[in-house]
Amino acid sequence: MTDKIHLDRGHLHRLYRGMLRIRRFESRCVELYQAQKIRGFLHLYDGEEAVAVGVMDALEPRDAVLATYREHGHALARGVPMAPLMAEMLGKVEGCCRGRGGSMHLFHREHRFFGGNAIVGGGLPLAVGIAMADKQLRPGAVTACFFGEGAVAEGAFHESMNLAAIWKLPVLFVCENNLYAMGVPLADSESQTEVYRKADAYRMASAQVDAMDPVQMAAAARRAVEHVRTGLGPYFLECRTYRFRAHSMFDTQAYRTRGEIEGWRQRDPIERLRHWMEGNHLLTADEAAAIDAAVAAELQAAVAFAEAGTLEPVDQLERFVLMDSVVQEAAP
């Protein structure tokens, strides 16, 4: 792995812990789904953790983030506390969206986390507008917008890329290229499969990175954020990654082979980083155990908080359909 020079021991541990938190959070979500405590769609980030962790690592509190329906990892990496996230998954009023949004709609104002979005490509135009506002109200702030490679075929992608480019807006477009859009392989949806080259059509700076390598990923994210923050205009970062599990809980995965999946699992970003740190004496067994324990404790507390949560009173159903004012007190 190159670029490791940039990353000291503590930093590497943070990346490792960040990915582990997501992995553990989501495997617990699967159990809770099987127990029917989580319902609806559940899209796992399993295998892609390095993307969100690497990008958030390069962001500051003043920055804005938009994600997709596969956004547990983005919310966690961005710093949204695990407890209200888990409560949201369980549909409790203590959840970050009062239990109204669920897995696909995690929002958090304090962290400028402008939500998951269940409409593919639906977040991109929002990113353009948030960047317009930030350029005026929060100079230097970056808007990071995550989306899958499948979204690249949508008109909303094209229009948003063009607007960001002609207006030189501080938007970081992060394409999570996991090679499939549900069951559609990249080659079936794009003739230009080097997705980062799509940026040329807008004369936008772009790069491609192996997102199964957390250190490479973090380094590429830093360069990208730096470009945007210094006013050089928008940037398109293609992150080559892979989804280890089904698209959602209703997917038989007829469109790909076990062998393909196994091959990618060999490149698991979490395992890979741990082995590499161990091999380079950057992570001791005690440190690994400590991180493990900390994550387990955090998760246990989050689940306990969520399980103990309450249901929003039904008489609140129409609350917030229309807002009384722009500055709302945060959800309880």
């Binding site: 549909g91 979204a151 079936d188 007829a254 129409e318």
Partner: protein, 331 residues
């Protein structure tokens, strides 16, 4: 030409058999949409069809709703018989321009030179905790658009046979399949091989109140009617089946016997199809009404994820029962 039909099947299987028959019957017919092929369909309706018919007849599209829906319109203009699947009606908003400004408009605007024999299937409705962006019920809203026909199969039989009628129609036909109905199972009468797409059907006879509905609210209304029967109230349950053009004659005829009407609709109340029906009663059947019309619709909110809130936002059997009681008491 019709394929083997098991007597008992699910609504999902009925949708699939209908598509299969269409592909076998007409070489101009093909299926196009997101994940209809390799994935087998988001709701597994097209599962196995790619293997049977190949990629020329079962076309997986990229995520490009305005593109492939417009392509469906173009293919229909040029002589094919596309069955376009919009995975769910929530995404149809991205294709609305092609549906309203081209599909619904070109035949009239061109002075009748071009027809658009296009079928668009989409999943609709709430009830599976998919939250606000995945729980719309837009069929009644689409029914506002001249030039379209809008079908809402509420039974396995209609799911099985409406598609053929839609494909035989020279106009763009939208078919809304309710996500909660896909697993519904029913016996099919082998004698029934076609259905019309003009008329509402009385699904249960009754003399005390006309209960007008469609889609996934139909089973709810039948359950309510059953419960009401226990109280000595006989509700006549009318399944609209087609939201455009709307068959009000059947509703009016029922009203001449019941003189009371409750409309049940999963769409947001204001501007829902229930509004149009109630309006027609106020225009053309005012003197038939012995009690105010009642509408049981979705609450006017984005549908929340939490189960209890989603349930509260949708029409439920107790709401229907209460509405019927109120009109039967009244007047």
């Amino acid at each position: 030409m019709s394929s083997f039909t098991p007597l008992r099947m699910t609504y999902r299987e009925a949708c699939k058999q209908a598509i299969r028959d269409a592909l076998l019957a007409d070489p101009r017919c093909f299926v196009m949409g997101e994940d209809v092929g390799k994935y087998g369909g988001c709701y597994a309706v097209t599962k196995g069809l790619l293997e049977e018919f190949g990629p020329a007849r079962i076309v997986d599209t990229p995520l490009a709703e305005v593109g492939f829906v417009g392509a469906g319109v173009g293919a229909a203009l040029a002589g094919l018989r596309p069955i376009v699947e919009i995975m769910t009606c929530n995404f149809s908003l991205l294709a609305l321009d092609q549906i309203m400004n081209n599909a619904a408009t070109i035949p009239h605007m061109s002075g009748g030179q071009f027809a658009v024999p296009l079928v668009i299937r989409m999943a609709t409705g709430a009830g599976r905790q998919l939250a606000a962006q995945h729980s719309h019920s837009l069929e009644g809203w689409f029914a506002h658009i001249p030039g379209l026909k809008v079908l809402v199969p509420g039974t396995v039989e209609d799911a099985r046979h409406m598609l053929a009628a839609a494909l035989a129609d020279p106009n763009p036909v939208l078919i809304f399949e309710h996500i909660v109905l896909y697993n519904a199972e029913d016996e099919l009468d082998p004698a029934v091989t076609t259905v019309d797409i003009e008329h509402a059907h009385v699904r249960r006879a009754g003399k005390d109140v006309s209960l007008v509905t469609y889609g996934n609210s139909l089973p709810k209304c039948l359950a309510a009617a059953q419960q009401l029967a226990g109280e000595g109230i006989e509700a006549e349950v009318i399944d609209l089946r087609v939201l455009r053009p709307l068959d009000t004659a059947t509703v009016m005829e029922s009203l001449t016997r019941t003189h009371r009407c409750v409309i049940v609709d999963e769409g947001w109340k204001s501007g829902s199809i229930s509004a149009e029906i109630a309006a027609r009663l106020a225009e053309d059947a005012l003197y038939e009404l012995d009690a105010p019309v009642r509408r049981v619709c979705a609450r006017e909110v984005p549908v929340p994820y939490a189960e209890h809130m989603e349930t509260a936002s949708l029409p439920q059997v107790p709401d229907i029962v209460a509405a019927v009681r109120s009109v039967v008491k009244a007047g």
